[in-house]
């Protein structure tokens, strides 16, 4: 603790957070004025969109989390094969923007949808049903991943004890599993709810006249980008995330020792396994359907009238600048990946490997970004940075994405650092091994897997984000994901499908590459001894 040079680093990082998170946010909230409130309260549309948002998000959360529970149980508590493959397919939707899900759904179940015809429906599923379905499509994988993770850490001993005592399966579920899951379930529910309530991709694509808060915010933005009403919308959208954030803080960190005491081994059960297969396969088909539809629509002349093969949409996408925008996106994503990972890594190093008030304050600042939806973040940046040299550059997109996706990778590495012996730096000090050396020679080699995951997370998410960047990108810095918006507005289905497909493919390639890298790192951990 003596002669701690890490304080300089902490000051630097704090300045970064103050400029990139706290000040913009304060500015948004400061923009709220009484007149705008009055005005909004008199609009029936306002309370209607609040009601709509609440209804749609609550329903979506319920469905999404229930499905996630079902699927994660099927995978964790059965002996079915191909578990990894199911997991990969079920999480594929995480690699495409939410608007594509809405858009895909419209192609499947809209007025002229593929399935609408097949099923002989007379009307498409616009409005509430559509929003819920679309929201479930893209929020389900996240809930599923979180719950699978929790379930895979559960200890078998309580179940064994219960079985010995003759307690039946149902009582075991209510008495052991639910209490074990309850804490995580709260987090999952809040994450999903926040994600859905602040999303505008799905509602714009398939909401029809069913207007939700984010859509109202966007409409308001198009009318008057300086309006005080924007800030009110922003503040409301901030609420659920802030609640989730506070609950997360209050909740004592579940001490997970990093290894399973005794892994649960599902017993034999042919019927159960068959049922699990059925559930997994059905869900995989549902998940894959829109993706296959993208692939088909990208190369079909004019669905549903002319199904012949064409490269028109691909050419059109390129004509409209798709190649340039793709490069923009790749540049931004690569920069966010590297810069975001570097900042998150150093930040977690300070907060997890040093003690004191300053480091706790920095930790709080680091996870604050969790409470800011992309839409609100983008809005705050337009207000705070407009007129500055940063405005309208790729750099501001890099910053906004770094902050937008900061919390998850930060927490990944924060947890990794926390499992590593706390006395290493002290031992180093007595052996004349400096902190930077310990970081380089001991901590980094032990956290390389996490580093790779962080790089991948930042890249994939900035590749497909729309919310924050939609406010900030101009004609020179446009991101490819934003093209989906434009194509949608012009009813260019094929092009929108093609762009979604490109994003999926890029993300798949990146994810696979990082996955292979991680595996390789695991295999040849440095065993070398100095010559």
């Amino acid at each position: 603790m003596i002669r701690d040079k890490s304080n300089y680093l902490k000051i630097l990082l704090s300045v970064f957070f103050i400029v990139c998170v706290i000040l913009p946010l304060i500015q948004v909230l400061a923009n709220i004025d009484a007149a705008s409130w009055q005005e909004l309260l008199q609009q029936p549309k306002f309370s209607e969109s609040i009601r709509n948002s609440l209804t749609a998000s609550t329903l979506s959360t319920l469905v999404s989390v229930s499905l996630a529970l079902l699927l994660s149980f099927c995978l964790a508590r059965s002996n079915i094969r191909l578990k990894n493959m199911f997991k990969i397919v079920l999480t594929l939707p995480m690699l495409i923007p939410s608007i594509s899900h809405g858009w895909g759904l419209k192609m499947l179940l809209g007025n002229n949808g593929i399935l609408t015809k097949w099923l002989g429906l007379t009307e498409g599923i616009y409005g509430l049903t559509g929003i819920v379905m679309g929201s479930v499509m893209y929020s389900f994988p996240i809930a599923f991943l979180m719950l699978s993770d929790v379930l895979s850490y559960e200890d078998a001993s309580p179940y064994e004890a219960a079985s010995v005592l003759g307690i039946n399966k149902f009582r075991q579920f209510t008495g052991i599993t639910l209490p074990y899951l309850s804490k995580s379930l709260i987090s999952v529910v809040f994450s999903v709810f926040t994600m859905v309530v602040t999303d505008y991709g799905v509602p714009t694509a398939i909401g029809g006249t069913y207007t939700t808060l984010p859509v109202s915010l966007l409409k308001e933005f198009e009318l008057n980008s300086q309006s005080g009403k924007l800030s009110i919308y922003g503040a409301i959208l901030l609420l659920p995330a802030v609640a989730a954030f506070v609950i997360d803080l209050l909740k004592k960190e579940q001490s997970r020792s990093g290894f399973v005491n005794k892994a649960i081994k599902p017993r034999k059960g042919v019927v159960r396994d068959l049922l699990c297969y059925a559930v997994c396969i059905v869900m995989c088909v549902v998940v894959l359907f829109p993706i296959v539809a993208f692939a088909m629509l990208s190369v079909m002349q004019n669905y549903p009238y002319d199904l012949s093969f064409t490269t028109d949409h691909i050419i059109k996408t390129i004509d409209q600048g798709g190649d340039v925008f793709l490069i923009n996106s790749l540049i931004v994503s690569a920069l966010v990946s590297v810069i975001g990972t570097a900042i998150a890594y150093l930040c977690a190093y300070c907060t997890a490997r040093t003690t004191g008030l300053f480091s706790r304050a920095l930790h709080l600042m680091s996870i604050t970004s969790m409470a800011i939806p992309g839409l609100v973040l983008g809005l705050s940046y337009t207000i705070f940075f407009s007129g500055s040299a940063l405005y309208g550059t790729l750099a501001i997109l890099v910053f906004v994405n770094t902050i937008h996706f900061f919390a998850s990778p930060y927490l990944m590495i924060y947890n990794s650092f926390n499992i590593i012996n706390k006395s290493l730096e002290d031992v180093g000090a007595t052996l004349n091994i400096s902190r930077p050396r310990i970081l380089r020679d001991v901590l980094i080699p032990q956290t390389r897997g996490t580093l790779v995951e962080m790089l991948s997370y930042f890249f994939v998410n900035s590749m497909m984000t729309i919310s924050a960047v939609s406010f900030l990108a101009n004609i020179d810095t446009r991101q490819i994901a934003l093209m989906i918006n434009t194509f949608e507005a012009n009813s260019l289905m094929g092009c929108a499908a093609f762009v979604s497909l490109i994003i999926l493919v890029v993300n798949l390639i990146v994810k696979t590459t990082f996955y292979i890298l991680k595996k390789a790192l695991k295999k040849n951990k440095p065993v070398k001894t100095a010559a």
């Binding site: 603790m1 290493l424 002290d426 007595t430 052996l431 091994i433 032990q446 100095a530």
Partner: protein
């Protein structure tokens, strides 16, 4: 013991963290080559004393003198001391050998012989056969031996131990006790040793320091502490506790002796 040189003198040590006074009026000295144990209930400030001695914590007041030199403000690595923690704190990504060698290689004067010294230290703790393994593949006792070898490698004249055996099973502790005493004899190192195990303290130490709540109640030889406890606290904490143990032990041994006799 009287004619031994004094290694460390601690004067009027005081440590305040936040608003809490952790240590006050701490005065003691340690003789060259001595084995001094520190006994006391949890939270009484034992670890804090070690952290001040080695320089990981700046005291609020007081001085630490080693070999006649005031080292209160010296950097931890410049004190000629080593420390061994309860949780080993090994570099998990390096082999056992590399763990011991790492600090040596960073030291210009010892870089050339680093491999040689490291192997010698591993031999001293009986681990030369495990040099190429990662620490995680060793038992707890073996890992602690690596930590000891790593500390010994820099040739400190004082080694501090913070409950080094608390995480080990009884058998391993018994063995490690003897090994540690043998190492002390061989290298002539002064050792200051925190433990919760009173029997361990009485078996290993030249002198024992009994602490409570940030103050020292008594520092004396094991015999004197039993014969002349300085106050009620020491009597209750140490003597009473130990008496119980001796009682149960002697009862146990009479049973054994009887058993042996009948077998003969």
């Amino acid at each position: 013991m009287e004619n031994q040189n004094t290694k460390i003198v601690v004067n009027d040590l005081k440590v305040v963290l936040g608003r809490k006074t952790i240590l006050e009026n701490i005065n003691f000295d340690v003789k060259d080559g001595e084995f001094l144990s520190i006994l006391g209930p949890s939270g009484c400030g034992k670890t804090t004393i070690l952290r001040v001695l080695i320089g990981l914590l700046n005291p609020t007041g007081g001085t630490v003198i080693k070999d006649g030199v005031d080292i209160t403000k010296a950097a931890p690595s410049k004190r000629g001391m080593g420390i061994v923690f309860q949780n080993y704190a090994l570099f998990e990504n390096m082999t056992v050998l590399k763990n011991v060698e790492y600090a040596l290689r960073l030291d210009k004067n010892r870089k050339a012989q680093s491999r040689e010294i490291a192997m010698e230290m591993l031999k001293a703790v009986g681990l030369e056969a495990h040099a190429k393994k990662k620490p995680s593949r060793l038992s707890g006792g073996q890992q602690q031996r690596v930590a000891i070898a790593r500390t010994l490698a820099l040739n400190p004249d004082v080694i501090l131990f913070d409950e080094p055996m608390s995480a080990l099973d009884v058998d391993t502790r018994m063995i490690l006790r003897d090994e540690l005493k043998a190492l002390q004899k061989r290298f002539g190192t002064t050792m200051i040793y925190i433990t919760h195990d009173q029997e361990e303290a009485f078996a290993m130490s030249d002198r024992i320091m009994v602490m409570d709540n940030g103050v020292i109640h008594q520092i004396d030889t094991p015999e004197n502490i039993i014969k002349n406890p300085a106050n009620d606290y020491v009597r209750r904490f140490v003597v009473h506790n130990l008496q119980l143990k001796i009682d149960s032990l002697s009862r146990f041994s009479t049973v054994c002796v009887k058993g042996d006799e009948s077998a003969q």
